[in-house]
């Protein structure tokens, strides 16, 4: 190590630490629960059951195979929301460590994101047969899923660092995040297909004619809309009314892919830059 430039040594150390912290997160999370890892699969499945009963049976959201449609989006959402929610208070709650030891602070949010990514991978692996049975063969599109996963992790990591850094000087964010993510969830086409928004805009009357186009623009600008789409296409297919029947799994279109790539690179760059800038004084503030 003596011959290596200092920065490289730093980087090697950070990677080592990151690996250990991810392992810790995974080990500790279900240490005392009887079902252990099964929970990272059970939760989305139970949620799917509940949402299917409420939104497909009672409220009759007009989409083919609601359970598969919902699960494809919800797995992605759960990863994103859990990562950011865990990261937002992580710098503050690890204060004693930050005040006592020097290490690259990025590893705290990154380890949380990566451990969530492991849960996501497991959940995808276990629910894969379900998609296969309900929606058809998605195996040819696995490369799209892998690229999507990389982009999603990059986007989520950027967001997590952003939230973690801002929360150090602005502690209210931690409380705000709960509500914010609730709104964000409903602003993302997960329990409803995106064409319902377009239909509503087309059918709008009166004051709704001014409000709904705005909502449509918000949904369109929402990066999670595109990430959900990025995974929905290869896992579920193109959403459509039940009587029409949704198209089987396919490649995501170029627009979706490019929008997601832009969000991933932009968010990661900005989030990391801000985090680095703020990290210098973390030890003083926590």
């Amino acid at each position: 190590m003596a011959a290596l430039p200092a920065r490289l040594g730093d980087w090697r150390q950070a990677r080592e630490l990151l690996r250990n912290l991810v392992a810790k997160e995974l080990k500790v999370r279900y240490k005392h629960s009887a079902l252990g890892f099964a929970w990272s699969l059970l939760t989305p499945l139970l949620m799917t059951a509940i949402f299917t009963v409420v939104f497909a049976t009672f409220l009759r959201i007009p989409v083919d195979r609601f359970a598969a449609f919902f699960l494809a989006g919800y797995l992605i959402w759960q990863f994103f929301a859990n990562s950011v929610n865990a990261s937002v208070g992580a710098i503050v709650s690890n204060g004693s460590l930050i005040r006592k030891v020097y290490f690259p602070r990025e590893v705290i949010p990154l380890s949380l994101v990566l451990s969530q990514a492991v849960h996501l991978l497991l959940a995808l692996a276990v629910t894969a047969p379900l998609f296969y049975v309900l929606r058809g063969n998605f195996l040819p599109f696995v490369p799209a899923l892998l690229v999507g996963l990389v982009l999603l992790v990059a986007f989520t990591a950027g967001m997590s660092m952003l939230f973690a850094a801002v929360n150090v000087s602005f502690r209210d964010l931690q409380e705000l995040t709960q509500v914010m993510f609730m709104a964000w969830f409903y602003g993302t086409p997960i329990i409803y297909p995106r064409y319902l928004v377009d239909d509503a805009v087309a059918d709008a009357e009166g004051w709704l004619m001014t409000v709904l186009p705005w909502i449509q623009r918000i949904v369109e600008a929402n990066p999670m809309t595109w990430f959900v789409q990025l995974f929905q296409r290869p896992l579920y297919g193109v959403p459509a009314h039940p009587e029409v029947g949704a198209a089987p799994p396919t490649w995501p279109d170029a627009t979706t892919f490019l929008v997601c790539a832009a969000w991933a690179v932009g968010t990661l760059t900005f989030g990391w830059w801000l985090f680095r800038r703020r990290a210098v004084t973390f030890a003083k503030e926590v």
């Binding site: 011959a3 200092a6 150390q13 080592e16 500790v28 020097y102």
Partner: protein
Amino acid sequence: MARRGQQAPTADAAHAPDRFAIDVTGLHEVFRVYTERPPGLKERLYRFRRARYHEFHALNGVDLQVRHGETVALIGPNGSGKSTLLKCIAGILPADAGEVAVHGRIATLLELGAGFHEELSGRENIYLNGAILGLSRAEIAAAFDDIVDFAGVREFIDAPVRNYSSGMYVRLGFAIAVHVDPDILLVDEVLSVGDQTFQEKSLAQMRSFSQKGKTVVLVSHDLGAVRSLCERTLVLHHGEIAFDGPTDDAIEAYQQLLATGELPAAGVVEEGRTGDLRARITGVRVEVAGTGGTGRGGQPSPVGPVAAGSTARVDVEVTPQADLIGQGGLSVGINVRRPDVQPSVYETRTSWRASYVAPPPQGTPLTVTFDLDLGLLTGAYLIDVMVANAETNVLHERWTSAVELAVEGPTHDAGIATLDARVRIDNPDGVWPPESHPPPLDEGGPRYHPVRDGSDEPEGARDAR
């Protein structure tokens, strides 16, 4: 792991002899102390109402250069900035002004077991904590057995650390930290953990660090440890370096700081002599009755050897160098110590004995005589002499190791003081003094005995029993 400084130095240059291991110049560290709760939504919304805080200058322009291989202690009262300085060197806190340059891989022992996870086993925590301290998996694996043995937690290594006693917890933390094998080790008040045995092990570990040519910066209130580990000590006071020099002088300055709130006005005049020198020790004379051992302060050879139990007369002559009349009495004291033992063997001052010593006019000597019973055992003893103001405790002069005294005591005892045991053994048939007739070995006699095995047989020794 040298990270900071304006230019990131490469590790090649880290050991260049012309570079300091630690080079701190003009370091300021400012903390905002909020008088209300930390800034939240309300403060952000009402921008006109500024958050109320005052600035606390934890470090006020500190300069510190530490050479490679040096072992340096930082001492000072609580809140003087010791830990802050250490954190700045470690890179945990950024410099608000000034520069911190570090050349070499750093490890910090600021809090033992920081980053331990309660639910994980000792084994898992060793890997996790090692990674936090910057070790690779291979390095930890190589040191793993050493760490476990050093901490003495082998049988609990697979139990969650939640179940560890607090002693085991900190021992494990310490064991990991000292196995980081850094170039520079920063230690904050962690040497006093664990029981006596473990403390000795920790001290030995620190010593071996110094001997291996590593740079060590130690913050401690344990002055005994500081004395035994460091040659150079800095005293911090209100975020400034108040003293930088030999450890004994630094500790003297620090103790005076604690007692009076002020530092000695003048520094070291010559080796071993410190104080404000408004009164000086102009002579020290030692005479041991009977054995004829005499000596003067500052002579290179020890007085003696003198017999244990004899009486020594120590004359201390002090002379005011300024007009001290009306500024309170003088206190003249002596401190007898062994160079290898903490704390001192014996210390007294005239002021402790409630005797008022009026300062003589400027330039007029005054002699205080101490008659000492040397109830000591064999060894070298050092006598420190001091003169201070009896009321304010301001030190005029301390002469460390003014005289060395060699004492020869009975060879059948060991230690410092002779408590002169009278020995009785409650087993008349099992004790065979030199002049007795013991039975052979297989009938319960001693393995060797001068009478039985052919030395001169004392007359009637057996009958006397």
